[in-house]
Symmetry: C3
Subunit: 159 residues, 3 copies
C-alpha cells in the first residue's frame, strides 16, 4: 500500500478531509522548500476554519483528546508535504518534529501526547518517518489550541 | 531600493540603531554559520544593554507593545545576518523563524505578535523572506522579555 | 587530550556514567542522521531510568540544581552523538541548541541555566562547539524534568 493510501486511511480514521488547501493563520508560509529541505510551519489541530481541540491539557482537555489533536497536527504536516511534493512517496526523511502541548502545571505526559503524532507518521511513512523529537509543555498556543507541531522533512532528489 | 536601505528604513521607523555589535547574553554565539546555513540565536527585544519590551503579554504588556518587540527581535536577527554576510543582498532564503511570546494564560494572539516580525522580514528581504514559522506562548523569557525569536537563513553561494 | 577523554572527565565530575544505551521516552529516535546532519531529540536530565532533576526552577528547584540538570542534558546529547559517530572527534560542528527551562513565573535566568550546557559543550568540543542558542521558560516538561535541551550537530564527511 502506498504512503498516500495510508495517509487517506488515517484521514478516514480521524473522520476529516485533509485535501483542502491549508492556509496559514498569519503572514507566513505553511511550508518553505530550500533545496531538498522542507520546513513546515507549526500546525494546530485545525480542520477547515475550526480548531478541533482547544483547552489546557490536564484540566480542560484529556490526554486522549490531546492525542487526537496531535494526530490532526501530524496529518496537516503530511498534507502540506504531500501537496508540495505531489506524493508522500517523494519524502526521503522526516528527521525532526517539535511538539508543543498546552499544559496544566501538573501535566507531565507531553511525550505521550507526542507519541500519537509520531506513531501516525511511522504508520504513513514507514522507516523514512523515523524522527528526532522535542516535546515541551507551554502555557498557551495560537487560537487556544491544545497542541502545535512543526516538522522538518527532506525530499528525494529530483530525477 | 536595496535590502540594506530597507533595513535602515525599518530601524528609523523603530527609532533605534542596530549597527552596534550585538552581544549574546551568555556563553554562546549570536550567529553560527555552517556551510551556507546561518543559525541565529534567540533574540530578545534588546537595544544596546536595555531590553525595550518586558512583561507578560495580555496583562502587563499590550498586543501593540508585543508587536514592537517582535519588530526589534526581527531587526536584531537581520542585523546579525547583515554583519555576517556584509549585506542582506547575500541572503538566499530565510526558511524558518520560531517565535516565543511570554503570554498570560488567556492570551491566544501569538500569531498576531509574530506577524509583526514576519511582515518586517518580508518588507526588508522581499520574496526571499518567505518563511515557515512556529509561534507559541511561553511562561517566561530571559531578562523578562516579552518576545524571543530565532532564525534560520541561508546565504548565496560565494562567487 | 581528545574530546572523548574530556567527555569522560565531565562524566566523572557529574558522578554519572553516560556509556549505557540512551533510550527515548516515546515513539521516536534519540538521534536521526540525515546526510551530515545529526538531529538529537530533546534530552531531559535522566541517568538510567531516573530523571535526576525535577521541579519548577525558581521555586522548587534552584538555579544551581538547574545548571546541573543542563550539564546532564548536554552529556546525554554528546553521548548520543559519540555513539552515532564512534568518537566525538568526528563532530564537525554543533551549530544550534535549544534550551527549555521549566520556570516559575518570576524566574528569568534561563540564559544562566543554559550557560551550564553551553560551557560544558565548549569544554568537550573546543572551537567546533560554538553554537547558536535559544533559551525559553516553559510551564512544564516531560516527567516533570527541570530542563530539556535538543541539539543539531554535523559530522565530518566520511573519508
Amino acid at each position: 500500500m502506498s504512503r498516500d493510501q495510508k495517509f487517506n486511511d488515517e484521514a478516514a480514521a480521524l473522520g476529516h478531509s485533509f485535501d483542502r488547501e491549508i492556509k496559514p493563520g498569519g503572514s507566513y508560509a505553511p511550508l518553505v522548500r530550500d533545496g531538498c529541505q522542507l520546513y513546515v510551519s507549526g500546525q494546530v489541530p485545525r480542520v477547515g476554519d475550526t480548531v478541533m481541540v482547544t483547552g489546557t491539557v490536564g484540566t480542560e482537555t484529556s490526554l486522549a483528546q490531546a492525542q487526537v489533536a496531535a494526530r490532526i497536527c501530524a496529518m496537516r504536516g503530511l498534507a502540506l508535504i504531500k501537496q508540495a511534493l505531489g506524493s508522500l512517496e517523494q519524502v526521503a526523511a522526516m528527521p525532526r518534529i517539535n511538539v508543543f502541548v498546552r499544559s496544566s502545571p501538573e501535566f507531565t505526559q507531553q511525550s505521550e501526547v507526542a507519541d500519537a503524532a509520531s506513531q501516525l507518521i511511522h504508520r504513513v511513512l514507514g522507516p523514512v518517518g523515523v524522527h528526532a523529537r522535542t516535546s515541551v509543555g507551554v502555557l498557551q498556543l495560537p487560537k487556544g489550541a491544545s497542541v502545535e507541531i512543526d516538522f522538518l522533512a527532506t525530499a528525494l532528489p529530483s530525477p
